[in-house]
């Protein structure tokens, strides 16, 4: 989560050079930065919680995931699901009112990719799960870029795509 928030914040700062308004590097609203960090963190936490709910029957089988709250019995699965859904919806709602439509769309797209494309569809079926699911990470960077520019251009997309390209060598090491 911390790494994804860092990609969002740094992309937000980088985009200031390409903003249409008089370009002053790193000239951003402190409030906007704060809300990007809040929305990025909430979306990451929410989608992780939904992922943990969906994997409640298999997480105890692997050492790394067996320490999660559901397999260890610290939290009931339904509570985790409700928490995940509320936090995810909250992140998109806050983004809508504090950032802009494109940044909100990117945050929602990141949640959708992680929960639906990666967790529900690919994770148990394809060895390409982390490759395609890596786009969920790209969306964080793109949300940061869009938070500054209000749109998504080629360079913002290509910078976000670095996270996609980085995901396989990162997650395959696990």
């Amino acid at each position: 989560m911390v790494v994804l928030v860092i990609t969002a914040v740094t992309s937000m700062l980088a985009a200031t050079r390409f903003d249409n308004s008089p370009s002053i590097p790193w000239d951003i609203s402190g409030w906007k930065l704060l809300f990007l960090i809040i929305c990025g963190s909430l979306s990451s936490m929410g989608s992780s919680a939904i992922n943990m709910y969906y994997d409640k029957s298999i997480d105890h089988l692997m050492a790394r995931t067996s320490k999660r709250p559901i397999p260890t019995g610290r939290l009931r699965p339904n509570k985790v699901l409700i928490y995940g859904l509320i936090i995810s919806v909250l992140s998109v709602t806050i983004a809508w009112f504090t950032l802009n439509p494109m940044a909100t769309f990117m945050i929602a797209l990141g949640i959708f990719f992680y929960v639906v494309i990666y967790t529900l569809i690919l994770k148990r079926r394809s060895v390409w799960n982390v490759v395609i699911g890596g786009f969920a990470g790209s969306a964080a960077s793109m949300a940061g870029w869009a938070a500054t520019t209000g749109s998504m251009d080629l360079l913002g997309f290509l910078i976000g795509w670095i996270v996609f390209m980085w995901s396989p060598p990162h997650f395959w090491c696990l």
């Binding site: 985009a15 394809s126 060598p169 395959w172």
Partner: protein, 93 residues
């Protein structure tokens, strides 16, 4: 899933190959408007990560994989910090 289905040897090869693809991709952003600072960091950080992943390919053990994993997260942080700093100290050849 990949290590379970195809084994550590094949996975470590895929890890190394994907890192080798990542390096020129990240550097190619120079041609889309990024500056010297970012491009230099991308080449150096990518090369350092490739060294770790080459070692993993030669010695595909869980211990080495954990070391390689711990290198990839800082790689992404360094790359994105350089992307932000590039805007502040923007220069091109």
């Amino acid at each position: 899933m990949l290590p379970v289905v195809h084994g550590n040897q094949t996975t470590s090869k895929y890890i190394f190959i994907s890192t080798i693809i990542l390096i020129p991709y990240s550097a190619s952003l120079y041609f889309f408007g990024m500056g010297i600072l970012y491009t230099t960091v991308a080449l150096i950080a990518g090369s350092l990560m490739a060294i770790y992943h080459y070692k993993l390919m030669k010695n595909p053990t869980p211990q080495m994989a954990w070391k390689a994993y711990k290198v990839t997260a800082p790689y992404l942080v360094i790359i994105f910090i350089s992307i932000a700093l590039d805007a502040l100290f923007y220069t091109r050849l």
